[in-house]
Every structure is written in structure tokens, then in C-alpha cells.
Amino acid sequence: MKVLTLNFLTCAVKACKTTNNSFPLHPKDAELVHDEIEINRDLLVNVLPRIDWTALRTTSTELGFPTLPEQPPTAEDLQQDEKMLKELHALLLETQMMEGKLVCGHCGHEYAVREGIANFLLPSHLV
């Protein structure tokens, strides 16, 4: 599962919909894989405003990457700065979480990730 997707996933438990702590989910015992993908500049520029930068910084620290700058880059930065584009692309799209768990910060529910697929099926009492 891409780090980009991690930046959008929230806890599926109904009670967690009403709190702010259910996002982002915290990766635990994560095994990461680097997968080469062709750079798609337009996609990154399109998605950039929707990325929650604070959450991305948390996730990347938790996954053991160097700390990201405090301010998100702007669309113009991405157009001009080739290096920044490459780094962002490598983090968001090429880094994949293959094994591990995603833990909700509010209810503590653990979503297992196996072979890159997160299991979001909930037992009926949590729905």
C-alpha cells in the first residue's frame, strides 16, 4: 500500500467518525518495499493540495524516514524543482507498505496489512 493512500485512510469504526484522532492511522511493525514507478508530475500537482501535510510528516517519521519540511511545497515548487518532485514521488508513490499493522489513534483498532492489502473488514458490533 502506497504512502499516498495512507494519507487518506481513516478508521472505519463508526464511533471514530466523530473524533480527530482517528486520522492518520499509525503504521506499526511496517515492512516497506521500494517499487520503481514512472514519475507523473501532473498527478502530484493535482493531488498535492489534498495531502494532509501534518499527517504525512507524522507518517513518514513513524516509518523511519528523515523529517519532512514544516511547510508543504507549492505547485510552482514542484514544476521547477526536479529534486523535490523526485523525492516526493519516491515517498508517496514508490514506497509501499507490504506487511504490518495500521493502528487507530482513538479506538486502538488494529488493521492488519498483508502482502500490501489492508484488511478493513469490521466485526458487526463495531459498524
Binding site: 500500500m1 485512510l9 478508521c11 498527478l43 493535482n46 508513490l93 484488511n119 473488514l121 459498524v127
Partner: protein, 279 residues
């Protein structure tokens, strides 16, 4: 034709053998491909987007999303949801590019508000009309799904769901659930009154502020499409009955806020009640 929806739940029906059969059948591959192309045409995406594939199965339609050439606005990045582990296993073996999620769409869509540019669903949402246990009802599952989908799409986003309703009752049930969740909805019927009839539910989120057109206008330009507009014009549809400040009014407001992705306290029997007078 037999309907697997009538006999078993989706995750039970698509076991390892069924999933492989489904994916390797060239007939199903062709039908899925043409329906995905049609859905893409309806989504009318101009630049590389983030797309949710609801009921992605083995990734037959996702594959097409990844392959859209740059001159047509691709390639798109997609995230797929499916309830059948066997189907996702086949998708893994086929090495699809999108991210996969094992999830039940009847339990909602676990993404934060405004995530996706668009959503696509090929032959999946009719499964919601079958409740497998006594705890869940089709109406509840449908409404949870459409509410989740509505908030996970960005304003001006669009969703195209191709589905096989069993009868007019199911068709009506699905459409009204979508409208109730806040979508602007239109039904497109390909090859009507033949055996190969295909139904597409085209859903829009939000107003026309971002330059997105009314769905009737988008379809209007296409070949061989008749527009039947059943919408009431210039009517307010029974609003004004709800008194401001009443419980119904509060619940309506809360629903509106929830759809926008705001954090809303759960509704209980105490909602809208006055506090008792203190000594």
C-alpha cells in the same frame, strides 16, 4: 440468466475457483473492459486523477485506469476496495498497479473527506441489496455506502456505478439511496430493451462552481443518447415544512454537516431537547 447475488454473499460466492474463472473468462474480460471505457467516458477526466474503484475484484477495470494514455488525461492512480479475499489474491498475482483494500462497501468508505477525484464501480453495488444477516438491512448498507462515498469524493467530483438491478424495485432503491446521500444522480441505459442492457448510475457531488457541467449536458453530446429529464423544475419539493429549531431541523442540519465531512455528534433521543430547569 442466473444471479449469484440471490444465492450467496459476495465474499462467499467469489472463492478461489470462482475468482479465477471470472478473471480468465475472455467474455467477462471484454464486457468489463467496454463498461470501464464507457464509465471513463462519462467521468470525463482531463488530467491524471486519484480514483476509487468500488468492488475492484481482480483489478480488471483498474488495469484500464492505469493504462489511459497521457493525451487522454491519464494514467490515473487508483485504490480498489473489495470484499472477496480470493478476488484480491488474483489481483495480486496479476500484479495490478493500484492499492487494494479488503473492505465491505456496505460498512462505509474509510477515507477522509474529499479524497478522490472520481469513483468507478463496475457490476458491484447490486450486491448491497442482499443483506446476509439479521443485523443489516439493504437500505442501511446502501445508505452507509453512499454517504461514505459522497464525503470521500471531492467537490465537483463524479462517480459512475454500473450495476445489474434485479428488478425496478432494486433500481429505485439504489437510486433513491444515492439521491438521499446528497448526490446529483442520473441513470444512463445502454442498449435499452435488449438482453445486453447496461445501467450506469452517474453521480455528481456539489454544484457547478468548479466548472463541472450538469450531467444531462455531458451526456447530451454523445451519440445516440436520449435525455429523459424527470426532475421537477421550479419546485421546492415540500421544504419549509420543517420548523426552524425543531428536532427534525437539527437532524437535517447535522446530516448536511456530516456530508460535508465535518465532525458531528451522534444523534440520540436527547437531541434537540431542552435542559431541565436548575434550582
Amino acid at each position: 440468466m442466473s444471479r449469484p447475488e440471490d444465492t450467496l454473499a459476495a465474499d462467499v460466492h467469489y472463492d478461489d475457483t470462482e475468482a479465477r474463472k471470472y478473471t480468465t473468462s475472455s467474455r467477462i474480460q471484454n464486457i468489463q473492459a467496454s463498461m470501464t471505457q464507457r464509465a471513463l467516458e462519462l467521468l470525463d477526466l482531463k488530467f491524471p486523477s486519484l480514483i476509487l474503484d468500488v468492488g475492484c475484484g481482480s483489478g480488471l477495470s483498474g488495469e484500464i485506469l492505469s493504462q489511459v494514455p497521457p493525451e487522454e488525461g491519464g494514467p490515473h492512480v487508483w485504490v480498489g476496495m473489495d470484499i472477496s479475499a480470493s478476488m484480491l489474491d488474483v489481483a495480486l498475482q496479476r500484479d495490478v498497479e493500484g492499492d487494494l483494500l479488503l473492505a465491505d462497501i456496505g460498512q462505509g468508505v474509510p477515507f477522509r473527506p474529499g479524497t478522490f477525484d472520481a469513483a468507478i464501480s463496475i457490476s458491484a453495488i447490486q450486491w448491497l441489496c442482499n443483506a446476509e444477516s439479521s443485523e443489516t438491512s439493504p437500505a442501511g448498507r446502501l445508505s452507509r455506502f453512499f454517504n461514505g462515498l459522497y464525503s470521500s469524493l471531492k467537490r465537483g467530483g463524479r462517480a459512475v456505478c454500473q450495476f445489474y438491478p434485479k428488478n425496478d424495485v432494486q433500481k429505485q432503491m439504489i437510486t433513491s439511496a444515492a439521491v438521499k446521500a446528497g448526490f446529483g444522480a442520473g441513470l444512463l441505459e445502454d442498449d435499452p430493451e435488449t438482453k445486453n442492457v447496461k445501467l450506469y448510475l452517474v453521480l455528481t457531488v456539489g454544484g457547478n462552481a468548479t466548472g463541472s457541467k450538469d450531467i444531462a449536458d455531458v451526456v447530451d453530446g454523445m451519440d445516440g443518447v436520449d435525455v429523459l429529464d424527470n426532475r421537477k423544475k421550479g419546485e421546492k419539493g415540500g421544504k419549509g415544512e420543517i420548523k426552524k429549531g425543531s428536532k427534525a431541523w437539527i437532524i437535517k442540519k447535522k446530516e448536511q454537516m456530516e456530508r460535508k465531512g465535518k465532525i458531528v455528534k451522534a444523534t440520540s433521543k436527547f437531541t434537540g431537547r431542552k435542559r431541565r430547569v436548575q434550582f
